[in-house]
Amino acid sequence: TDTPSGRVFAPPSVRRLARELGVDIETVEGTGPSGRLTEGDVRAAAESDESAPAGTGDEQPTE
C-alpha cells in the first residue's frame, strides 16, 4: 500500500484469496514481516465493510 510503486507484497496464495473474496489488496494494511500481506489480513478485510462491499465477491469475467 505504502510502497512507492503501489506494489503490494503478498504471496500468490494470498493474492488469489483476495480475488476470491473480492478484496482490493491495495487497500489492505499488511501485518506480516515488513508489512507483507497475510491470509489473515485479507480475511479480516473481507469481513470489514469498506474493503469488501457486499456482493463484489465475484471477480469473474463477464461472459
Binding site: 510502497t3 480475488r19 469475467p61
Partner: protein, 486 residues
C-alpha cells in the same frame, strides 16, 4: 456433442499444442471443462520440437564432451569424438519421449485431440482442415477459444530458409554433420546459445550483430563472463553490421554484411563509414528474432484485434478484445518464453472455469543457456529505482563459493536487489554455474515477498551453489561470511 456430421462442438477450443496451448488444455480438462486441442504439426510446439528442449539437449551433450576435453587441470585427459548424427538421434529420442508424453497427458486429463489447421470462420467457430490431400475439413463450434499459435523465426531479406545453406534455429538443431564454419546472424539468446554449441563442436563460428553488443537485453555485468568465454571458444564477433545477402561460392558461401544504419547513424560505433564485410562460410544461421503466428488463422473473422507487430493484446485474464476468445503464449506478446506461455495457459483455463485466477505475478524468470548461464527474475536495479524504491544491492561472486571451485566453474556472481526500507527482495540476477537452477529459489523469494533477512537467515546446505543466494542477501545486509561486505 456432434452437430451434423462435419460440425463438432466444444466448450473450450485451444488452437495450438505448444506449451501455452497444451497447458491450457490440460488444466481445462482438470477443471472438467469439455476441451478440444487442435494442432497442425506436432504436440509440444516450438518448445519441445524445435526450441527449448532440443537446444538444451545439444548444449548439455556438447558440454559433456567439452568439459572432459578441458579437464587436464583436474587430472583428466580425454579427447572425445562427437558423432553429430548420433547426438541428433539422441536429441530426437528425448523430444519424442516428451511429445508423446504431452499427448498422453492431454488424453489422461480428458482433452480431445484434433489434428489439423484451424482458421476462424466467425466468433464462435473455426474450420479445421486436416493435413494431407483429400483429408477434408470440419467445423468446430466453441463457447471459448484459446489462441496459442505461437511464433515463427523472422526471415530477413536476402536469406531464405528454403535455401540449403541458410539455416533457421530449427535447422541448426538437426544438422547431420558438424559444419566447418558457421556465420550466425544475431547475437540474441538463440544465436548465442547455438554459437556455444557449434564452437564446442569445433565449428569456426562468426557472429554478425546489428547492435553494438551481444545479448542486448541484458546489462554488461551479466554478459561479461559470457563474452569472455566466447572469446576463449574462438567465436568472432562483428558488431554494428547487418547481413545483406549471401553468394554461392560452389565450395561454400559468402555472407555479405553492411554497416548497420542504426549504429552508423548514432555516430558512435566502429562501423561508421566502414566497408561491407565478406565472410566465407559453410552455412549461415539467421537468428534475429521471432514473430507471432497471428496472420494465418483468419483471426479477423472472429473480430480479434492484433497490434502492429502482430501480437494479440490481452488483459489480465488473458482475454482479447473479444471477451470469450483468449490468447496465450508467444502470440500474446513478450516475453516469448515457454514458462510464460504455460502460466498464461493454466491461468486462462482457470478463468474460463470461473476460478479466481488472474495473470498476476511478481517474478518472471528468464534464462539464457550460454556458457556460463545468465538468469534473471523480477526487477533490475534501474527498474527498482524507477519504481520509486531505494535499491539495496547484495552480490556474491562464485569465486568465493567452495562448491563453485570444486566444479571448476567459478566465473560470475549472484546479485540481489531489494527495497532498502522494507528489505523486500525485488529482483535478482545470476551469471555462472547452474544459474538456471538457482533462479528457482530467487523467483520464489521475489514472488513471496521475502525479505533479505528471510533469505539470509535460511540455512542452505554446504557445499552448494545455492549458498551464494544466501550470501548475496547477507552481503546486502553487510553480513556475508564468505565475501567482504562494503
Amino acid at each position: 456433442m456432434v452437430v451434423g456430421d462435419v460440425t463438432t462442438g466444444t466448450d473450450v477450443l485451444v488452437i495450438g499444442g505448444g506449451p501455452a496451448g497444451y497447458a491450457a488444455a490440460i488444466r481445462a480438462g482438470q477443471l472438467d471443462l469439455d476441451v478440444t486441442l487442435v494442432e497442425k504439426d506436432a504436440y509440444g510446439g516450438t518448445c519441445l520440437n524445435h526450441g527449448c528442449i532440443p537446444s538444451k539437449a545439444l548444449i548439455t551433450a556438447t558440454d559433456v564432451a567439452h568439459e572432459a576435453r578441458h579437464a587436464e587441470e583436474m587430472g583428466i585427459h580425454a579427447d572425445p569424438a562427437v558423432d553429430m548424427a548420433g547426438m541428433v538421434d539422441w536429441k530426437d529420442g528425448v523430444v519424442d519421449q516428451l511429445t508423446s508424453g504431452v499427448e498422453k497427458l492431454c488424453k489422461a486429463n480428458g482433452v480431445s485431440l484434433m489434428e489439423g489447421t484451424a482458421k476462424f470462420a466467425d466468433e464462435n467457430s473455426v474450420r479445421v482442415s486436416h493435413g494431407g490431400e483429400g483429408q477434408g475439413s470440419e467445423s468446430v463450434d466453441f463457447e471459448h477459444a484459446i489462441v496459442a499459435t505461437g511464433s515463427r523465426p523472422i526471415q530477413i531479406p536476402g536469406f531464405d530458409f528454403a535455401d540449403e545453406p541458410v539455416l533457421s534455429s530449427k535447422d541448426a538443431l538437426s544438422l547431420e554433420s558438424v559444419p566447418e564454419s558457421l556465420v550466425i546472424v544475431g547475437a540474441g539468446y538463440i544465436g548465442m546459445e547455438l554459437a556455444g554449441v557449434y564452437a564446442k563442436l569445433g565449428t569456426d563460428v562468426t557472429i554478425v550483430e546489428m547492435l553494438d553488443e551481444m545479448l542486448p537485453a541484458y546489462p554488461d555485468d551479466l554478459t561479461r563472463p559470457v563474452a569472455q568465454r566466447a572469446e576463449e571458444l574462438g567465436i568472432d564477433f562483428h558488431f554494428g553490421y547487418s547481413a545483406a545477402e549471401w553468394q554461392d561460392l560452389g565450395d561454400g558461401i559468402r555472407v555479405v554484411a553492411e554497416p548497420a544504419d542504426a549504429v552508423a547513424s548514432d555516430g558512435g560505433a566502429e562501423a561508421v563509414e566502414a566497408d561491407p564485410i565478406e565472410l566465407d562460410t559453410e552455412k549461415v544461421l539467421v537468428a534475429v528474432g521471432r514473430q507471432p503466428v497471428s496472420d494465418t488463422l483468419d483471426i479477423e473473422a472472429a473480430g480479434v484485434e492484433t497490434d502492429d507487430r502482430g501480437f494479440i493484446p490481452t488483459d489480465d485474464r488473458g482475454r482479447t478484445n473479444v471477451d470469450h476468445i483468449h490468447a496465450v503464449g508467444d502470440v500474446a506478446g513478450e516475453p516469448m518464453l515457454a514458462h510464460k506461455g504455460m502460466y498464461e495457459g493454466e491461468t486462462v483455463a482457470e478463468v474460463i472455469a470461473g476460478e479466481p485466477a488472474a495473470i498476476d505475478y511478481q517474478a518472471m524468470p528468464a534464462v539464457v543457456f550460454t556458457d556460463p548461464e545468465i538468469a534473471t527474475v523480477g526487477m533490475t536495479e534501474d527498474e527498482v529505482t524507477d519504481a520509486g524504491f531505494e535499491p539495496l544491492v547484495g552480490k556474491f561472486p562464485f569465486r568465493a563459493s567452495g562448491r563453485a571451485l570444486t566444479t571448476g566453474h567459478a566465473d560470475g556472481f549472484v546479485k540481489v536487489v531489494a527495497d532498502e526500507e522494507s528489505g523486500f527482495l525485488l529482483g535478482a540476477s545470476v551469471v555462472g554455474p547452474e544459474a538456471s537452477e538457482l533462479l528457482g529459489e530467487l523467483g520464489l523469494a521475489v514472488e513471496l515477498g521475502a525479505t533479505l533477512e528471510d533469505v539470509s537467515g535460511t540455512i542452505h546446505a554446504h557445499p552448494t551453489l545455492s549458498e551464494s543466494v544466501m550470501e548475496a542477501a547477507a552481503n546486502a545486509l553487510d553480513q556475508a561470511i564468505h565475501t567482504l561486505n562494503r
